[in-house]
C-alpha cells in the first residue's frame, strides 16, 4: 500500500530523467537519420555545452540567456571543426570506421577537459530556480519541468525541419543514398556540417539543462548509454520515437527501482532494449528500412 502511494512521485521523477535521455537521444537520432552514423561523442557534446556555458556565464560574466546561447553556438562550432577534421575524411569509409572515430573523439574530449579542469565538479546555475512545485504528494522542480518542455519543443522543431524544409529533405536524401543525393545536387559536405552542428547544439543544450541537476564534470557524457537505449527503443530514425523512448525508459527504470530494488533500474533498461530488438526491431516508432539491391 505504501509502495503504491509513492508511485506518482516515482513517475514524475522518471519523466524528469527521461526528458534528459530524450534530449540526448534526439541528437543521436538526428545524426543517424542524416548520415547513417551513430555518434558516440554525442554525450560529450552535452559535456561541452555545460563547460562552455560555465565559461561564458561564470568566467566571462555574460547574462544568463546570452551565455547559454553563446554556449550552444560554440558547441555547434566545435562540432563543425570536429566534423571537418575527424569525420569528413572518412566519408565513404565503412560506417563502423566512422563510429570508432566518434568514440575516439569522445575520449579526446574527456581527456582534454580533465587536463584543464581536473575532476572538480562545478556547480551550474539553473535556468529557473525556486521551490519545487507541489501538487498533492508529488513534487517537481521548475528546472525539470523546463527540461521536459524544451525536449518536446525541440522535437517539434526538428520534426518540422526534417519534413518541411529543403535542408531536411537533403538530409533525408543523404541518409537514404549518399551517392544518389550527391548526384542530385545535394552538397554532402554542407549536409554533414549542418547535421553535426545541429546535433551538437542539441547536445549542448541538453548539457545546459542537465548540468544544474548533476553538476559539471568530464564524465557527464556517460548519459549517452541511456540515451542510446532510448533512441533504440524509439526506433533510432524517429524523432518522436526518441522522446517517447527517453520518457519510457526514465519512467520504467525509476518505477522499477522504486517499487522493487535498485538493481532493477539497469535490468529493465536492457530488458526493454532486448525486448524491442527481438519483438519490434524497428523500435516503437521506427520504420522498417528497405534496402534495395
Amino acid at each position: 500500500m505504501t509502495q503504491l502511494a509513492v508511485l506518482p512521485q516515482l513517475i514524475v521523477g522518471g519523466v524528469t530523467v527521461g526528458s534528459i535521455y530524450a534530449l540526448v537521444a534526439l541528437g543521436l537520432v538526428l545524426v543517424y537519420k542524416s548520415t547513417g552514423v551513430v555518434n558516440f561523442a554525442q554525450g560529450d557534446m552535452l559535456t561541452l555545452g555545460a563547460y562552455t556555458g560555465l565559461l561564458f556565464y561564470t568566467t566571462l560574466s555574460l547574462p544568463y540567456l546570452l551565455a547559454m546561447v553563446a554556449a550552444v553556438v560554440s558547441v555547434a562550432a566545435i562540432a563543425i571543426v570536429i566534423e571537418r577534421i575527424a569525420v569528413r575524411p572518412l566519408l565513404g569509409s565503412p560506417d563502423f570506421t566512422v563510429i570508432v572515430a566518434t568514440l575516439a573523439i569522445s575520449i579526446v574530449i574527456r581527456g582534454v577537459l580533465r587536463l584543464f579542469s581536473g575532476d572538480y565538479v562545478y556547480p551550474f546555475p539553473a535556468a529557473v530556480s525556486g521551490p519545487p512545485i507541489q501538487a498533492l504528494n508529488v513534487r517537481a522542480s521548475p528546472q525539470s519541468i523546463l527540461t521536459l518542455g524544451i525536449a518536446v519543443l525541440l522535437m517539434l522543431v526538428m520534426y518540422f525541419l526534417f519534413i518541411r524544409t529543403r535542408v531536411g529533405l537533403a538530409m533525408r536524401a543523404t541518409a537514404e543514398n549518399l551517392q544518389a543525393a550527391s548526384l542530385m545536387g545535394v552538397s554532402l559536405p554542407q549536409i554533414f556540417r549542418t547535421t553535426w552542428a545541429l546535433s551538437a547544439a542539441l547536445g549542448g543544450l541538453a548539457g545546459i539543462l542537465v548540468a544544474p541537476l548533476i553538476g559539471v564534470q568530464p564524465e557527464m557524457g556517460d548519459l549517452l548509454l541511456k540515451a542510446f537505449v532510448a533512441a533504440l527503443v524509439g526506433g533510432f530514425t524517429s524523432l518522436p520515437g526518441a522522446i517517447l523512448g527517453g520518457l519510457a525508459l526514465g519512467i520504467l527504470e525509476t518505477v522499477a527501482g522504486g517499487l522493487f530494488s535498485n538493481y532493477f533500474k539497469d535490468i529493465v533498461t536492457f530488458a526493454l532494449m532486448m525486448a524491442v530488438v527481438v519483438f519490434r526491431p524497428t523500435g516503437l516508432l521506427g520504420r522498417a528500412a528497405v534496402v534495395k539491391v
Binding site: V6, Q9, F40, G118, Y120, R139, T254, Y263, M273, A289
Partner: protein, 427 residues
C-alpha cells in the same frame, strides 16, 4: 548501417561493456574499497630483487646518495584525483625532505598510473620492483588497486605504503610489509559515522543510501554491524549505482520510511546530486556521510543543499581553513603548482604530503644501510609522529599497521566548512 537496429543493439551492448570495464571500480572513492575485489595470485620477483633485502649495501633502489621509490597512483579516469593529489603532495614534501638528505641520501620516486584497475596496478608494481629494481612502493590509489598488491608485497617482501586506500584487508590481519598512512580502514570510519549518528545526532531510526561498488557495500556492512551492536536497526537501506544521475526511486522510498537521519555512503559528485534531489523531494531530516563526501568540490557541487551535511575528515585542516599552518601549506603548494586546477590541493594532496614525512622518518630510523626489512621494522617504531603541522599523527606497531586514528567531522555551512564538535571513537 541502415535497417540495422539489431546491429545498433550489439553496439549498445559493446558500449556497455566498454563503459563498465573502463569505469573505476570505486569511482572517486577517496578512502576506497573495503574488500578485496579479486585477490591477485602471488607472483615471485626474480631472486635478485627479493634476496637483496637481506644484503647490506646491495639493497635494491639504494645507492650512496639516493633511495628510489616506486609510486603507483590512480592518475587517469574518474578517480584520477586520488593519484594526482597523492603524487603532488608527496613530491611537494620531497622538496623539503631532500633539502637535508637522510643519511646522505635523497629520496627519489618514479610514478606509474594504475588507472584504477587492479591488474594494471599489479603490472606497475612488477615493473617498478623487477625491472627498475626500486626500494619500496608508495601507493595513492583506491582500494581495488591497492588490494591487488597485497599478495605481491607479501610474497616478495616489498614494503608497500599506501596513503589513500581504506580496505580493511590491507591492514587486517597485519601484513609485515604493508602500511596505510592517512587513510583509515573502513571498519573504523564507519564506526565513527555510527557514533556521530547515534551519540551526536541522537538518531533512533536512521536510513542508509549506499553505492553498489565494493567501497559502498563495505561501508554499509560495517555500519549495519556497528548499529546492530548498539541495538539500532535502519528503517531503510537503499542502494544506488555509482555515478547515477537520478535518485528519485531511492529517496522516495527513504522518505516513505520516515527516518530521523540518513547516512550517505557515496562519493562527492553522487552525494551532491543526492543532497540536491533530497531537498527537492522534501526530505528534511539531517544527512551525514563518510570521508569520501568531504571536500571543496562537494560544497561547490551541492550548493545550498549541502548546508548542515556532516561528513568525516582525516586531516587536521580543510582547504578553506585560515589557520597559519594551513595557509603556509597552501602557499607552498601554490608556489610549486601555480596551475593547479580548482579544488586543489584536495585532501589527497594533504595525505601524500604528510605520508612522505612519515616515510622519511622510517628511513631515518632504518639507519645508514637501509634494507627493506630494516625499513619496515623502523616504521613499526613510529609513534604519534607528525612530520608536518598539516598531518594527523601516525602510530605503527608490530600489531598495527594502520597509522591514522584521528577521525573528525566537518559540517557544510553556506559554502564553507566548520568543524563538528564531536570526536569519534574509531577503535
Amino acid at each position: 548501417m541502415r535497417g540495422g537496429v539489431s546491429q545498433l543493439a550489439i553496439l549498445a551492448l559493446m558500449a556497455l561493456v566498454v563503459s563498465t570495464s573502463c569505469a573505476p571500480a570505486a569511482p572517486a572513492a577517496p578512502a576506497a574499497a573495503g574488500q578485496p575485489a579479486a585477490a591477485a595470485a602471488p607472483t615471485t620477483a626474480p631472486a635478485a630483487a627479493s634476496a637483496a633485502s637481506s644484503g647490506s649495501t646491495t639493497s635494491p633502489g639504494v645507492t650512496a646518495d639516493t633511495i628510489s621509490f616506486g609510486g603507483i597512483g590512480t592518475m587517469t579516469g574518474p578517480a584520477s584525483f586520488v593519484g594526482l593529489g597523492g603524487r603532488d603532495g608527496f613530491q611537494l614534501a620531497l622538496d623539503e625532505i631532500n633539502a637535508t638528505p637522510i643519511n646522505g641520501r635523497k629520496i627519489q620516486i618514479s610514478w606509474e598510473d594504475d588507472a584504477g584497475a587492479p591488474a594494471t596496478a599489479l603490472a606497475a608494481a612488477k615493473k617498478l620492483i623487477e625491472q627498475q629494481n626500486l626500494f619500496a612502493i608508495f601507493g595513492s590509489q583506491g582500494s581495488n588497486s591497492a588490494v591487488a598488491l597485497i599478495d605481491y608485497a607479501d610474497a616478495n617482501k616489498v614494503p608497500f605504503y599506501n596513503t589513500s586506500a581504506g580496505a580493511d584487508t590491507l591492514v587486517t590481519p597485519v601484513h609485515k610489509y604493508i602500511f596505510t598512512g592517512a587513510s583509515m580502514p573502513i571498519s573504523s570510519i564507519s564506526k565513527g559515522i555510527v557514533g556521530l549518528a547515534l551519540d551526536f545526532k541522537k538518531a533512533k531510526s536512521p536510513a542508509m543510501l549506499s553505492p553498489t561498488d565494493v567501497t559502498g557495500k563495505a561501508f554499509a556492512q560495517w555500519e549495519m554491524k556497528w548499529l546492530n551492536d548498539r541495538g539500532v536497526s535502519v528503517v531503510a537501506a537503499e542502494e544506488n549505482a555509482p555515478g547515477d544521475v537520478d535518485y528519485t526511486a531511492q529517496l522516495t522510498k527513504i522518505k516513505a520510511a520516515n527516518p530521523d537521519l540518513v547516512i550517505l555512503n557515496g562519493v562527492i559528485p553522487d552525494v551532491a546530486v543526492i543532497l540536491k534531489q533530497a531537498q527537492e523531494l522534501g526530505l528534511t531530516m539531517p544527512m551525514i556521510g563518510s570521508t569520501s563526501s568531504s571536500g571543496d568540490a562537494m560544497l561547490a557541487a551541492a550548493g545550498p543543499a549541502a548546508n548542515g551535511f556532516q561528513s568525516g575528515w582525516l586531516v587536521p585542516f580543510y582547504a578553506t581553513d585560515t589557520s597559519p599552518a594551513n595557509q603556509a601549506f597552501i602557499a607552498k603548494y601554490k608556489a610549486k603548482y601555480p596551475n593547479a586546477p580548482v579544488g586543489r590541493p584536495n585532501y589527497l594532496d594533504y595525505f601524500g604530503y604528510a605520508d612522505a614525512f612519515v616515510i622519511a622518518e622510517g628511513l631515518k630510523r632504518a639507519g645508514g644501510n637501509p634494507t627493506r626489512e630494516s625499513f619496515v621494522n623502523a616504521l613499526e617504531t613510529i609513534s604519534n609522529f607528525k612530520g608536518t603541522d598539516v598531518a594527523s599523527p601516525r602510530t605503527f606497531t608490530p600489531t598495527n599497521h594502520a597509522g591514522n586514528t584521528l577521525l573528525s567531522f566537518i559540517e557544510a555551512r553556506d559554502g564553507k566548512y566548520v568543524r563538528v564538535d564531536y570526536q569519534a571513537s574509531t577503535q
